[in-house]
């Protein structure tokens, strides 16, 4: 197969308060890792957005991705009513090379639903900003299902999927909501996860991610590289789908 161009939708930076065996911090370290794995571009978030403060974590992401061509930032969002999200949010996203959002409702103690986010999420949907929801980082399946019922056109990337109930939880969503995508880092962990999903929905609904540095990036790359899929399907998953989503963001 020809060389595939990898865009990684799931890279975390920063040191965890609880310590961790694997962490990447500065830009140089991240870019060196991307080079090692042959990854062209990465969508990054910072552990401080989850563990410490959404706004302070967002500031760290902003500093990290500023003027970087190979890194794009992901900001964490809080309920608009407390004013913590700040004014001119979407303008600031554009100025600071931020193209996607993450929500941590359990850790940040709010309900991820229309009653709380109302028009703000209508804007997110209209602007086609990808919303990354991670099962590992506290977004539960009932929350995801309810959110998509309220915002059925939301561009949503489900991350860190795990193996328990994987297809039974995700396939009804992919089948019902046209802009729901599955991030591949743990979809690849599941034997045949990629190919079964592609067979069911086509390669347009899976987006490559590694979960680096918490997980071994080679694992997700090799599962994609050697999956029984066509070159065209692999290229869509590897980078083209994410590239298309990011190009469609209106800020």
């Amino acid at each position: 197969m020809k060389e595939i161009k990898l865009w990684d939708a799931n890279v975390r930076v920063g040191r965890s308060l609880a310590g961790a065996r694997a962490a990447v911090t500065g830009v140089d370290e991240i870019l060196k890792a991307l080079d090692h794995y042959g990854i062209e571009k990465a969508l990054v978030w910072h552990i401080a957005q989850f563990e410490y403060s959404a706004s302070e974590g967002n500031r760290l992401v902003r500093q990290l991705v500023k003027n970087q061509k190979r890194l794009v930032g992901c900001w964490a969002v809080l309920p608009p009513t407390t004013g913590e999200t700040g004014e001119y949010f979407f303008d600031r996203m554009k100025e600071n090379n931020i193209a996607a959002l993450r929500f941590f409702p359990e850790q940040h103690r709010y309900l991820l639903r229309r009653r709380v986010f109302g028009e703000f999420l209508d804007q997110v949907v209209a602007r086609r900003i990808p919303v990354l929801l991670s099962v590992k980082w506290g977004v539960t399946w009932p929350v995801i299902y309810d959110l998509l019922e309220e915002y059925p056109e939301m561009t949503c990337l489900l991350c860190d999927l795990g193996i328990w109930g994987l297809n039974r939880y995700t396939w009804p969503l992919v089948s019902s909501f046209p802009r729901v995508y599955l991030e591949s880092s743990l979809l690849s962990l599941s034997d045949g996860g990629l190919e079964a999903t592609v067979k069911q929905f086509g390669a347009g609904r899976v987006i490559f991610g590694t979960g680096f540095p918490e997980r071994y990036a080679d694992a997700a790359i090799l599962d994609l590289l050697h999956a029984p899929l066509t070159d065209e399907e692999k290229n869509l998953i590897a980078g083209e789908n994410l590239k298309r989503l990011l190009a469609g963001v209106k800020l």
Binding site: A20, R21, G192, R215, Y216, A219, L222, D223, L225
Partner: protein
């Protein structure tokens, strides 16, 4: 910067390792309650093993572990069909000792299919050191068989404290710590250091980066067994994780291949 790995380069290029046949000592087969497994029947599994260069899988059929009314015959039938690729563990359910008596009566025949025992205490809700397991432990010990345990950190059934009790009692068998007491890595490594017949096993370990490196550093790659829960976890993913770990190629060869053959030489047949 990471060490260069010829094995990694080879797997990137072709999706299998030419001179390092992989032996997976922790597999399953058939459907399971909580997961949709797209390729869990023996035909598909063997095909996928071939593609990734997996020479042999030692497994316990989900039915053998979770459906006493079907039991180990599901494993045996698959080994009979694919003897070049499959061997099984005889699953022991402590609630049904009579079944085990019947199954082990014909061990001379059984040993063609079964190379050891599998104990799943967390699911069967009986502690590893419980009297109801004595039958299985004594059987394995007398024949010096490998015993693959499901082990999980914090479990009162098969956590490190329970493993320590049985490892002290039964020292002729080889004890494989399936999942390496998941999460309680330090205790798992301490067990391996304290007991020469105890081994770490990598299933559900490799989705967290860095632990394998620590295991190699602390107990040595000779004491680490490759396992995947296949058809739960993907071979390219799991072999890829071993290839990505910051260890030497000679460690990878031991983990993926050599250690399994040393423990169960008949796998080469």
């Amino acid at each position: 910067m990471k060490r260069k790995s010829l094995l990694r380069e080879e797997f990137y290029k072709q999706g299998y390792l030419s001179d390092t046949p992989v032996y997976d000592l922790h597999g399953h087969m058939g459907p399971v309650a909580g997961i949709h497994l797209p390729f869990c029947e023996p035909e598909a599994m063997v095909q996928r093993m071939k593609t990734s260069g997996v020479r042999k899988l030692v497994f316990s059929h989900h039915a053998a572990l979770m459906a006493p009314d079907i039991g180990n015959r599901a494993s045996q039938e698959s080994v009979e069909r694919y003897p070049d690729f499959l061997r099984a563990y005889l699953a022991f359910n402590p609630h049904y000792p009579g079944v085990f008596h019947r199954e082990t009566d014909g061990w001379e025949t059984g040993k063609k299919f079964f190379v050891g025992l599998k104990l799943l205490s967390d699911y069967h809700r009986v502690c590893l050191s419980d009297e109801r397991y004595r039958l299985a432990w004594e059987f394995a010990d007398s024949l010096r068989l490998p015993v693959l345990l499901h082990t999980w950190g914090g479990s009162g059934y098969d956590g490190p404290e329970q493993v320590r009790l049985v490892a002290g009692r039964y020292q002729q068998c080889q004890i494989l710590l399936g999942h390496s007491c998941h999460g309680d890595w330090q205790e798992a490594m301490a067990l391996v250091k304290d007991f020469p017949h105890v081994y770490l096993e990598l299933c559900a370990v490799l989705d967290e980066r860095g632990i394998l490196e620590e295991m190699v550093r602390r107990v040595g790659s000779e004491r680490i067994i490759f396992g995947t829960d296949f058809p739960w976890f993907s071979y390219p993913y799991y072999i890829g994780a071993v290839l990505d770990a910051d260890i030497e190629d000679q460690d990878r060869v031991r983990i993926l291949s050599g250690n399994a053959l040393r423990l169960i030489p008949s796998l080469k047949d």
